[in-house]
Amino acid sequence: MLQLLIAHLAAALAAPALVRWLGRRAFLLLAAVPAGAAVWAITATNAVLDGREPTVSISWVPALGLDLVFRVDTLSWLLVLMVGGIGSAVLIYSTRYFSARSSDLGRFAAVFVGFAGAMLGLVTSENLIQLYVFWELTTIFSYLLIGHYSERVTSRRAAMKAILVTTLGGLAMLAGIVLLGHEAGTYELGEILTAPPTGAVTSTAIALILVGAVSKSALIPFHFWLPAAMAAPTPVSAYLHAAAMVKAGVYLVGRLAPGFSTLPVWQAIIGVLALITIVHGGFRALRQSDLKLILAFSTVSQLGMLVLLVGSPFKAGALAGLALLGAHALFKACLFLVVGIVDAATGTRDLNLLSGIGRRMPVTATIGALGVASMIGVAPFAGYVAKEAALEAIIDDQAALAPFGWPILVVFALGSALTIAYGLRFWWGAFATKRNVTASLEVVRPPLLLVAPPMAMALAGIATALLPGLGETLLRPHARTYPLGEPGHLAMWSGFSPAFQVTLAAFAIGIAVFLARHRLSGWRIPWPEQWDGDRVYRNTLRRVDQTAAATTAVVQRGSLPFYLGILFLVVVVGALPGLLTAGVEANLWLGTDVIVIAASIAIVAATVLAVRARRRMKAVILAGITGYSTALVFLVYGAPDLALTQVLVETVTLVVFVLVLRRLPIYFSDRPLVASRWLRLSVAAVFGLLVAGLALLVPQARIHEPDSADLPTTAEEFGGGKNVVNVILVDTRAWDTLGEISVLLAAATGVASLIFLRHRSTERPRPGSFEEISGKLGASEPDPVARLRRPRHDEAPTRRASWLVAGVTLAPHRRSVILEVAVRFLYHTMIVVAVFLLVSGHNAPGGGFVAGLVVGIAITARYLAGGRYELSAAAPLQPAFLLGSGLFLAAGTGLASMIFGGEVLESAIVRWTMPVFGEIKLVTSLIFDIGVFLVVIGLMLDILRSLGAELDHQGDVLDEDGEPVRQALEPAKTIVRRES
């Protein structure tokens, strides 16, 4: 069993290579694989009959209780035989049907064999989930087969139709399977069917599963995908209609019927849909002029009959249904292959163009006649035996069927009559000589391999009919599992019974309709056009497209303010109901702390002014005031670390803005959004109000002890530090900090890459080593006090490094010697303070962030006082080096503690006593903090080098009018021109 599936998989994978190597002959080789499945089924016949069903079970997902279980009972046996037998026959036929030069034969062969394998898995699955997996596999394979001619619109559309309809059904079915499995407590079919659950949930589940089965089996209202699927190559149609795909739905109905066919929901769905489908398909088949379409609608009609019989709760009906299932597989595959021969020989399938084919292709015509005979139910063919048994069953169970017995009988008989009419018309259309058609077709003799497969099926149709007793024996075990009625029988002749009389009547009507076909050709079924499945499908598809397009047009406007506004509103809409229904009493408390009140007033005033500001610098400075005031609040609220960091960050932010704003216009540009100003204002106001409301309520909604309740104790015990905030940063939540410094590194790199357009020089600018384009920085600007300066002896640039680098690199009118000297003196003091903050940060306010910021400010001061050469003198290191080594140190601490057997980023405490200093306690998390320290310095240095030094450099390249040269601001290639 499992070997068969693996063989199919292997054959499918090998098929493209085989076809490339052997050409069309590869199909013969591949045909052996499904043939093997059929042969295996034949050898297993006795075992299946005796109830020793071949079963394979493999553990799949034990945690979910999912096993791969395959079991072959009578129903599966029949389907395996069909899937394998007809699959191999179609593959053999394909060796001669396709031109040796047809496109994509390798892919076709692979997908076809894969399809056969998926069907095999589907009909032998014992587990419902596993069955579903194979079910969807057949959907995908059939999609690929129907869309084989992918360059044609018709094929693509048909394939899309098939996959959309069957997947929709499949999804409903999955929901049904899950419900059913939940209700039954198992997904094993055997267990579910021995003790079928009942109740509303089960009914829902069954209805959903039936949606899947009905969509797959092309019953109304899902029937329209099947006729469209004739866009597939004819061998595929033969397989789809006869043995695969649509038969999967019938299989599922037959599989579940023994347990659930007595449910009212089951009977309503199956009964109503099947009866409508029988009539609808029959009528439509009668009106087609394409031979393949006649067969397609015939399949729709016959599927109605099959589902009606197999889905009935009666033993006799089920037996007839199984017989019809087998018979239909044989004659329908046969007839499709015959159409393929006619099509290949004549180049058309239109029965209005075909004439005299029967005389020229007698063998093919005979095979066609045998197939049609079985389809319309002439003795001694399989179709006859099955239909007689069906009529017998319907008549015998009239009492149990009441009050629906008569309608069912009438519809079934009408279906038979229509079958006879379109069957005769099919053969007449394909092979008869028509007076009004003058066809000049070559006499052809189809090759044996093309004729043999349909011939074998036609003969098998007779053979099975001649041994009705054997058929009954083989199919009886499954039919007996149905709940109601007496076991039926299969027989060639059971007397002049009522069933036989109905058959005679059907023949009379059918032949009459066939003879009156010309007069009936204008006759239509009164069916509202807008209810047509195909039209509903198209309209739905179009509406989905339109809705999607309209939604996209409304939502994706490409405007950042719009997107952000939506984000704000979503937060408001999402949080507002919770806020209004929180039921927490807002306990107002007017703070009595003067500092907090003052800071709050400052914040409010600065914010309002910043929002109204028209000058860039004004807005930035006002934002800075809110930041410093926030720092004050932090201080009052017992957060000295925060206050320290906030003050430093606010200062650095101001510097960053100043560095960039010197290049931007003083005023904000004209506001393009002035029209929507009030709208934006109201969105912002509502958002602010919501946040304020949350701030009022959240603190009082707290119901748990804070997580940090015992942090002070553990901080000292395990983290070795007294400053709890710092211990959290470098120890307790060190992972977060590691992530954060990675973000800093990314931001620093981003800033640098936005500013360094050409390359990021690894060489630091040094006085003398730098190209002396304009002598000194700013020397080209007019110097209003030049005459007041005394001539200087060190005018000429010197290569010797001096204590104040600006002396040789800055124009005199740009210098402030007092500032330079003061900064120079302060610099080292600040570095020492920073190191102190770093080391003491574990026990007192400070730490890596604060220390790094202090160093950054020290360097900033050097840069502001002495220009970009002073910057490289102050920090003779590449920012990338600092960033990299910082991250390496921080991450390395984590790795090291892991190597020494601890948790990642776990701290160790080392103590030793040193003379003079006394006892020294070193916590390894200090190394982590040094990493943070280095990354922050790197960030600061990158900002200064990019927004400071590099912008200076770009600004120094001035033209005659003192305007910055545009080229210097453009990337790469224009620069090359300047330099060359």
Binding site: R25, R542, A553, N587, I603, T626, G638, V656, G688, L947
Partner: protein, 163 residues
């Protein structure tokens, strides 16, 4: 635990900061957006502070008795947020500068690709999609032909075509 409401002044300050920041963020000028983000950042940090627990002393062992300490966890989070805001501001400002270099203004432009999609969508809504035109089955069937072998030239056991 004493249920004491948050300081009303701070609640107002945080609300105003966030409303003002949100208003600026909804502008097109990147400098204004950067300022707006700073305001929002400050507002959120205050929000953190007042929702993070009652006011207390500095969370440093031996400086403040444990029961009088402010909750250190929100503080650590705020500290992280402050530094990240700095990095974000620097990046935004660098972007504003780059935008000024290239376009002589620092405004966020609309995404042209999104505009194009929206326009296409509008066109599609107006006109029905071409390939879902109504084609009857018969018309479709007439166009369906397989790449079949040329049976006329083949015989009962034809040799494989010379390729």
């Amino acid at each position: 635990m004493s249920v004491l409401g948050p300081d009303l002044f701070l609640v107002i300050a945080a609300g105003v900061l966030i409303a003002g920041g949100a208003f600026l963020v909804l502008e097109r000028s990147l400098t204004r957006v950067a300022v707006g983000l700073i305001l929002i950042g400050n507002g959120v940090n205050i929000l953190f502070l007042i929702t993070g627990g009652p006011r207390g002393g500095a969370p440093i062992v031996d400086v403040t008795p444990e029961e009088a300490m402010a909750d250190p966890l929100p503080q650590a989070m705020i500290l992280t947020a402050i530094v990240i805001t700095l990095a974000l501001t620097a990046f935004l400002v660098a972007m504003a500068h780059r935008s000024w270099q290239l376009h002589r203004h620092d405004e966020v432009q609309d995404d042209l690709e999104d505009r194009r999609i929206a326009r296409l969508a509008a066109i599609e809504t107006a006109q029905e999609r071409g390939d879902i035109g109504i084609v009857t089955l018969d018309e479709e069937a007439a166009g369906v032909r397989d790449e079949t072998a040329d049976i006329v030239e083949e015989h009962w056991l034809a040799e494989e075509d010379v390729r």
